[in-house]
């Protein structure tokens, strides 16, 4: 498999102009992650929320359960490639995420727009170090691949004549949108854990608020423990997505036994 090392130093102008500023914050606690407020310029952020409203209004059938036992419903990003939300499945965004996360990514993108109804329960700590199967040959340097109906993203199940590749989630991004007026006490944060191993002591938790036009981004590792903090007073919306690394890269980096199968 060919892995393309990308650089965003030469990001096209149209892409660079989407960003409100170039000062994101890299934090090391409770585990390394990047946090940013006011990610996109207001005009583009408004287009993103307008699109989310339009999809919810005109295509409610797209919203389905994200996972068994998980409190969110949502829409796959692969279904949203005909409007501004397509930025999250663009090659430019993929390359930016991979570079900021510090990984060599494959060009494969998976993700959804998540919606948690008011009063959603606390999730459970997980690290996202999961496999993901994508259809077809590896994408070229200017391409991305997203899941389709021919391959089960979680298991790789497919017809005998279908080509697919196994990857592992490499960098996670949570972008918050459509949560106007969020204030402390409204709940629905993303909880980041320093550890989950010691049953005798509560882990310290950093709560990332779902502020509109903000994001948290982190390399997926065996210790990137996080969850949805629940108890949201209002609807809580976000884009949750990953870029991926090859299975071999993940095994070399973390060991194959650390990969969490579905």
């Amino acid at each position: 498999m060919v892995v393309v090392v990308v650089t965003t130093d030469s990001a096209p102008q149209w892409f660079a102009e989407l960003f409100a500023h170039r000062r994101w914050i890299r934090r090391i606690q409770p585990f390394p992650h990047v946090y940013a407020r006011d990610v996109f310029v207001p005009e583009f952020y408004q287009r993103l929320t307008d699109e989310l409203d339009r999809v919810r209004r005109e295509r409610p059938e797209l919203f389905g359960a994200i996972a068994e036992g998980y409190s969110a419903d949502g829409v796959q990003l692969a279904e949203l490639r005909d409007g501004p939300l397509a930025v999250f499945t663009s090659r430019e965004w993929h390359d930016l995420v991979a570079q900021v996360g510090g990984v060599e990514a494959t060009g494969d993108i998976e993700g959804s727009v998540h919606h948690h109804a008011p009063g959603s329960p606390f999730g459970w700590p997980h690290n996202d170090l999961n496999p993901a199967w994508f259809p077809g040959e590896p994408p070229g340097p200017d391409e991305v691949r997203v899941p389709d109906d021919t391959v089960d993203t979680k298991t790789g199940a497919r017809a005998p004549d279908v080509v697919a590749r196994e990857t592992v989630r490499a960098v996670a991004v949570l972008f918050y949108l459509g949560n106007p007026g969020w204030a402390p006490g409204d709940g629905g944060e993303t909880a980041l854990y320093d550890h989950v191993a010691d049953g005798n002591a509560l882990p310290s938790v950093t709560l990332v608020p779902p502020l509109d036009n903000s994001l948290v981004l982190f390399e997926v590792t065996p210790r990137s423990w996080h969850t949805f903090a629940g108890n949201n007073a209002k609807d809580r919306n976000s884009v949750v997505m990953w870029v991926h690394r090859t299975r071999a890269d993940a095994e070399q980096r973390w060991g194959g036994d650390r990969i969490v199968h579905w």
């Binding site: 650089t7 965003t8 130093d9 990001a11 660079a16 960003f19 170039r22 000062r23 994101w24 914050i25 890299r26 934090r27 090391i28 606690q29 990047v34 940013a36 930016l96 570079q99 900021v100 510090g102």
Partner: protein, 257 residues
């Protein structure tokens, strides 16, 4: 070690309202040792720094001035000494000590309403008086005491963050006010004693911030005192003259007394 160009500031209470404002306003002017108990100031530090999302491998100039965060509960035995040692190990010197950490618990129904005021006496005097005393003494003993010429050439000094409550009586603030009054006079005593080896000491006594005076202006008063040659004063910030009985009326700027 210090960059050699910037002054080194040891600041307690660095993640509070004033501490955070001071760090954000002056982190590119000072090498700051930011002493925090839980949160951290919103500036580049060893715990967080800026990255350019479009060129993440390109150095960001703002990161060249990183605050050095030290977590400490200063009321615990040995913590002040540990912080002083870390500051000197990191930068080799301290030019400005800002005693900003404070205990603030009000008793709106008075000191006779239950035991709360009695129980809060020790915590107030521990953090608001004893910790500034200990920082001043330890820093002098470990760095300043035999360096008079260097102290004077570096214009080294202490700024204690007091309050207008240290000179005025406000309902519900008896214990807090008493601790700040003690801090005011501790400042005067330190100024008199430390003159021997060329270290100045002053206090600022701001009005309520950010409600009545902008926090940034209080932070500015600290920097102005650092740049001055004043010593032994308690200077109001955002305070009308008649509100500051017992304190010197010396202007740091046109609106300070």
């Amino acid at each position: 070690m210090s960059t050699g160009e910037r002054r080194v500031c040891l600041l307690t209470g660095a993640s509070g309202t004033l501490g955070d404002a001071f760090c954000r306003a002056y982190y590119q002017d000072y090498d700051i040792v930011a002493v925090c108990r839980t949160r951290t100031p919103d500036t580049p530090s060893q715990l967080k720094w800026y990255v350019d999302p479009l060129a993440p491998k390109t150095p960001v100039p703002d990161n060249e001035s990183r605050v050095f965060v030290v977590r400490a509960d200063l009321t615990q035995p040995g913590e002040v000494e540990r912080v002083v040692d870390l500051a000197l190990a990191r930068f080799g010197q301290v030019d400005l000590l800002v005693n900003n950490a404070a205990q603030v618990r009000l008793h709106p129904r008075g000191i006779v309403d239950g035991d709360a005021a009695l129980e809060q006496f020790d915590p107030h005097f521990a953090l608001n008086v004893s910790v500034p005393l200990r920082f001043s003494a330890r820093l002098a003993q470990r760095s300043w005491l035999h360096a008079g010429d260097e102290n004077r050439s570096r214009n080294r000094n202490i700024v204690n963050v007091s309050s207008i409550s240290g000179s005025e009586v406000y309902p519900g603030q008896t214990v807090y006010s008493a601790s700040k009054a003690a801090l005011d006079h501790l400042t005067r005593g330190i100024a008199a004693e430390f003159a021997e080896f060329g270290v100045r000491a002053n206090a600022i006594a701001p009005n309520s911030f950010p409600a009545l005076v902008p926090t940034e202006r209080v932070a500015q008063a600290i920097a102005e005192l650092d740049a001055s040659s004043l010593s032994g004063g308690v200077f109001g910030v955002g305070v009308e003259p008649e509100e500051l009985a017992g304190s010197r009326r010396v202007g740091l700027d046109a609106e300070s007394y």
